[in-house]
């Protein structure tokens, strides 16, 4: 390494150091602290603060409530993100062809996305109300117990989540569609590609990276889903809609078992990191080629 290179590297380090410092202070330090906390038994109201090692993790391994929460979290994530991506893509393609009322459609989409999630949750509380809610009225007045039935509660929450976040995916895809030059489509037509072939071989490949980014964002959000279930069902009935985040919140802020709650938090963190890593790997090849 020449002196010049070394100087460059130092300058570079100096430039990134504020960002690194901020990350360390704001993310790495609290993260490590939570990890450390998860290895302790800390219940401040009883003055309990002792090292517990992996006790909490061992308890979680045999805790049916934890496994239910993990199942609920994964099920919610896979189904809701899948639907959001599929529907979002469909809406974006429809918008692209739409001539009349496109602006109106766009603003309506934005409105849904812009509502605070607690407001959305309250809205759905009314919609799902068994005796007078709009959903049951539309379905012919039968008293379907959406939020109180163990088989229906999670699908009802997934529907609310899809309604709320599908526009996010739709808008992302639509924005990308706008940047595809018309010549590409012209070329496809000249080559004799039909609608299906154009979609399969031109549009979708060009949307791939934006879809992966949407997938990444949506998956990470869904894995940490909290407000919809907290407001609509409180995790019930029978814990069938309790996600890991809700379980962690209850342990941390309601029952004040700080060490135990931190352990659940660490599991969520590990899960999120794993998924993020997998997606980033999937994103890389195309990124490198571009």
């Amino acid at each position: 390494m020449t002196a010049r290179q070394r100087a460059d590297r130092l300058t570079g380090l100096a430039f990134v150091s504020p960002a690194l410092l901020a990350l360390t202070v704001l993310t790495v330090y609290p993260g490590l602290w939570v990890l450390w906390l998860s290895l302790q038994q800390r219940i401040p109201i009883f003055g309990i603060a002792r090292f517990a090692g992996v006790e909490h993790y061992a308890f979680l391994a045999g805790d049916p409530r934890f496994w239910t929460a993990l199942r609920v979290t994964l099920g919610f994530t896979i189904i809701s993100v899948g639907l959001e991506l599929g529907l979002g893509l469909a809406v974006a393609l429809a918008l692209q062809r739409q001539r009349l009322g496109r602006r109106l459609a766009l603003s309506l989409l934005l409105l849904t996305w812009a509502l605070p999630s607690v407001v959305t949750a309250k809205l759905f509380q009314w919609l799902y109300e068994p005796s007078a809610g709009l959903v049951n009225v539309v379905l012919g007045g039968s008293e379907i117990n959406w939020l109180g039935d163990p088989d229906l509660a999670l699908p009802a929450l997934i529907f609310a989540d899809v309604w709320r976040t599908m526009p996010f995916v739709a808008l992302l895809c639509y924005a990308r569609l706008l940047t595809i030059p018309p010549e590409v489509y012209e070329a496809a037509r000249v080559d004799g590609a039909g609608r299906a072939a154009t979609l399969r071989w031109v549009t979708l490949p060009l949307l791939r990276s934006i879809l992966l980014i949407a997938l990444l964002f949506r998956t990470l959000d869904a894995l940490r889903a909290f407000d919809l279930m907290f407001v609509l069902t409180g995790g019930g009935p029978a814990g069938m809609t309790e996600t890991l985040t809700v379980y962690a919140y209850r342990s941390l802020f309601q029952t004040l078992q700080l060490g135990f709650g931190a352990a659940i938090g660490c599991v969520i963190f590990a899960l999120v990191m794993l998924v993020a890593w997998a997606y980033l790997r999937a994103l890389r090849p195309e990124g490198a080629a571009a």
């Binding site: 068994p130 005796s131 039935d149 009935p237």
Partner: protein, 423 residues
């Protein structure tokens, strides 16, 4: 005239009390409290009156968000951080032992002789005391009661049910006679949240058992507890309660009953004010009765709820803060919450016979007898831990995912594990 004389006497007596804290001068107190819903908020008026009597003391009132979970979270984070940023706090009575045990509250015992708790309903006063010390003063209270459609019961020549089996029979008879598919039997709170635990506890008590006894034995009589849970499940399975009770909270069930869609409702006193509102479809047609009993227990044991007032241990103005708490919990402080337009009920027994209060809320004497027999939820610092642990289990029994025995067995295992960690 007699009322005015009484009021004057009370004022004089109070003026005597309020003059004591001399060193309270030149302090600014911060009072954190739940936002008071309803047309009239009595707090600002009370605080101005307190300031008038304590020259130099100003009180800033800072309302918290309305949901109980968020209030608890706010207090936990700030009190654990030892903040002196607020002096006086209003808190749900189930948090008093928890916060006291954590060392977050000022021990009020040096200022508050035990006799000062005597004028309050016993169930409310019981929630103020933990480890033989006084940690808070009761401010308002709720008690679980049974509402019934007086017009419907009269039509079929029935009197309010004494037992739950009677209630089921009456509900079935009235529904069969009315032939109205939209008329439900009995509504209550079965969503997986604190309200569910309250409802289950009341059924436990009605069947002569409890969640935890004085010697900290968890579920001391499992058979009675299981019978109570089985009964609740049967209410839903037999259609006496609609299946939606497994998702319903206080407001959902109150609205349905208020629309005339049920014969019975288990709720709190605040609901009566709404049933008697001028535009209410059930106005003048609602009666209130003690909760019924099960075969092995007694009737009328409603759970208490409500807010207490306490002082942050990190306060820099202990004297003034204690004076404010005592003023708000005094007869005069509580009279303000009996005004028309306030849907809160005081904890002082006398106010339920107060002519002015009765004029604003004609059914207060009725609530007096019910509140007298009320029971607090387990007064334990770990109550919240208990409650959140049993909520999914009780909920599973109600929706039929577990038998009552399985649900109680799973609940007991978790509770005992938890207790072993803190003993």
């Amino acid at each position: 005239m007699r009322g005015a004389a009484l009021l004057l006497a009370a004022l004089v007596a109070l003026a005597g009390c309020a003059q004591r804290p001399r060193d309270a001068a030149a302090a600014t107190l911060v009072f954190k409290h739940a936002k008071i819903l309803g047309p009239l908020d009595p707090i600002p008026g009370l605080l101005r009156e307190f300031e008038r009597r304590n020259p130099g003391v100003t009180v800033r009132s800072e309302p918290l968000t309305w949901t109980s979970d968020e209030q608890h979270q706010f207090y936990v984070i700030n009190l654990d951080g030892a903040t002196p940023a607020f002096d006086v706090l209003m808190l749900d009575l189930i948090w008093v032992p928890e916060f006291a045990q954590a060392g977050w509250l000022l021990d009020l015992s040096p200022w508050v002789p035990r006799g000062e708790l005597a004028p309050h309903f016993p169930a409310a006063a019981a929630a103020s005391v933990w480890n033989d010390r006084v940690w808070g003063l009761p401010w308002n209270m709720n008690v679980g009661v049974l509402y019934y459609r007086a017009d419907l019961l009269a039509k079929y020549g029935l009197t309010p049910p004494r037992t739950w089996d009677d209630l089921v029979e009456q509900a079935q008879r009235i529904r069969a006679g009315e032939r109205d598919p939209r008329l439900d039997g009995v509504l209550w709170q079965g969503k997986q949240y604190e309200g569910l635990v309250v409802n289950v506890l009341e059924h436990f008590w009605a069947n002569g058992t409890s969640l935890i006894d004085e010697r900290d034995t968890v579920l001391p009589e499992p058979a009675r507890a299981a019978a109570a849970l089985r009964f609740m499940r049967r209410l839903i399975a037999s259609g006496v309660s609609p299946s939606r009770v497994t998702a319903s909270d206080e407001e959902m069930s109150r609205r349905s009953f208020g629309d005339g869609r049920a014969v019975f409702l288990r709720s709190w006193p605040y609901a009566m004010d709404l049933f008697e509102a001028p535009d209410s479809p059930v106005r003048g047609r609602v009666g209130v009765a003690p909760l019924p009993s099960h075969p092995d227990g007694e009737a009328g044991l409603g759970a208490t709820g409500g807010f207490h007032l306490a002082v942050n241990r990190r306060t820099r103005h202990a004297e003034a803060a204690v004076a404010l708490v005592r003023f708000l919990a005094s007869a005069e402080g509580q009279r303000a919450i009996t005004a028309a337009g306030v849907a809160l009920y005081p904890t002082r027994v006398d106010l339920y016979r107060d002519p002015v209060a009765i004029k604003a809320h004609p059914y207060m004497p009725r609530f007096h007898d019910l509140a007298l027999r009320a029971r607090p939820r387990p007064v334990r610092p770990y109550y919240l831990m208990f409650s959140t642990t049993v909520q999914p289990e009780f909920s599973a029994a109600l929706v039929g995912l577990k038998t009552p025995e399985e649900a109680l067995g799973d609940a007991r295992r978790q509770l005992e594990y938890m207790l072993s960690a803190i003993r």
